[in-house]
């Protein structure tokens, strides 16, 4: 199942945040599963409109996220997703 790893910076703000094993094969749904497990996490990654925050970077199997608006990027069962802070955020 796809695994989602979050930047350690988020632990300072949210506490313990282990890698999350999702079952969905679309990024939007996989992240929704992670948010269900840790509800506060959602507003750190997505903005009011559900888009990826301007200064959050997401990589799927090492490739930068293609769809920051609807998060439609497909995942494989063995995908690894990294949710990181973009350097543009200062």
């Amino acid at each position: 199942m796809p695994r989602i790893a979050f930047t350690p910076q988020l632990r300072r703000l949210l506490g313990e945040l282990p890698d999350f094993d999702a079952s969905a094969l679309v990024l939007r749904e996989a992240l929704a599963q992670a948010f269900a497990a840790q509800p506060r996490l959602r507003s750190y990654v997505l903005d009011d409109q559900g888009h990826v925050r301007a200064n959050v970077a997401i990589f799927v199997d090492g490739r930068r996220l293609q769809d920051r608006v609807t998060l439609s990027d497909a995942l494989r069962p063995d995908s690894v997703v990294h949710v990181l802070q973009a350097l543009s955020g200062g």
Partner: protein, 362 residues
């Protein structure tokens, strides 16, 4: 004498304490170390959830967060931040995304948050949940607002009326002055008399595009409002129905204003060179004070840097205590000064703080 105050900065929230004239102000605490704190609202002696304190964070990567403390800033917990509703397809104007909490205020029945890009939010449960005030957001005039200091318009001043529950006045850069008499259910412009030199001829008197940098109300005489505007200084003695322009020494340009809470004739301003330079006039930091409603002024310099000073005091960087005696002034380059005598003389609290966004007694 014992006073407390809060300093919201680019690198956290500082608590400062004044334990008597000899000791002066000292830094007593530091929360959210390293995180930008755009606004702070200390607890109050009255009103709903009166003891609860709020701090608005603006994390560079992870967005705007709202923190609350029920023990005067010793411990904090995160509350849901205001959030804009789903943006309709094709909606004009700035994106419906919270960029910053620029103002926080308490009225008898509610908490209010003014934001960039121009939405006002209301909470009736002590900040546990927030709702966009649609009656203002849906006004057609909103699409005529534009950014002043930021790319998007923002609500920086929220002035509840202490004697009229449900009455509220807002200052918006650049969206004029708005008034509600019914707890935000309906709104009307109240910027008559202001002038916007930054607009083309024929549009300078329009109320909806005025740039009031900051509005402060006299608590004891709440019909009196003072405004530091992009184009000068204005005062109203009829709760914003009309505004009269005043001329201050050195420069009438600036960002901050503090209104004496007991004396409707007294207010303080911090002049700067208008308007692209935005530095103290002649590199000397001063405060302009009027004690007669703006007819005459004193330019106060004692204790403030008078050579090669380039500190700018931003909208929320000047505060006065509930007696009108103590003042605090914080700058964009991290200078913090205090006065115990109504501005006649000043002492340095620190010259090494992070850029200061807001100072608040409480």
């Amino acid at each position: 004498m014992s006073l407390n105050a809060w300093v919201a900065t680019r690198k956290g929230l500082f608590e400062i304490a004044h334990r008597g004239s000899s000791a002066g102000w000292q830094i007593a605490g530091h929360s959210f170390v390293g995180d930008p704190v755009s606004m702070v609202l200390p607890g109050s002696d009255h009103g709903q959830f009166d003891g609860r304190m709020f701090a608005a964070l603006n994390l560079g990567h992870f967005g705007v967060k709202l923190q609350a403390s029920d023990d005067e800033g010793k411990t904090w917990r995160e509350l849901p931040a205001p959030a804009y509703p789903s943006q309709p397809e094709g909606a004009e104007g700035p994106a419906w995304k919270l960029m910053q909490i620029w103002s926080l205020a308490r009225s008898p029945a509610a908490l209010w948050a003014g934001t960039l890009p121009g939405g006002l939010f209301k909470s009736v449960d002590g900040g546990e949940s927030w709702a966009l005030v649609e009656s203002l957001w849906q006004r057609p005039e909103r699409l005529g607002w534009f950014g002043g200091g930021y790319d998007a318009p923002g609500i920086h001043s929220i002035c509840p009326h202490p004697n009229q529950p449900g009455e509220l006045l807002l200052g918006i850069s650049c969206g004029g002055v708005w008034h509600s008499a019914d707890e935000g259910a309906s709104w009307a412009l109240r910027a008559k008399g202001m002038r916007a030199d930054f607009m083309p001829p024929g549009q300078q008197e329009q109320e909806n595009i005025q740039d009031p940098h900051r509005i402060a109300r006299c608590e004891a005489a709440p019909e009196v409002l003072w405004c530091q505007h992009h184009n000068g200084i204005w005062r109203s003695s009829d709760n914003g129905l009309s505004w009269q322009e005043l001329k201050a020494p050195l420069s009438s340009f600036g960002f901050a204003v503090a209104a004496h809470p007991l004396d409707p004739l007294t207010a303080w301003f911090v002049p700067a060179v208008k308007d692209e330079r935005r530095i103290p006039v002649d590199g000397a930091l001063v405060v302009n004070r009027s004690r007669d409603g703006g007819q005459t002024w004193q330019t106060l310099r004692t204790g403030l840097p008078q050579q090669h000073c380039y500190d700018l005091v931003y909208r929320h960087g000047l505060a006065v205590d509930e007696n009108g005696q103590h003042l605090l002034m914080g700058s964009t380059t991290g200078g913090l000064w205090a006065s115990d005598d109504g501005g006649d003389s000043w002492s340095t609290v620190s010259l090494n703080l992070p850029p200061i966004y807001a100072v608040q007694f409480g």
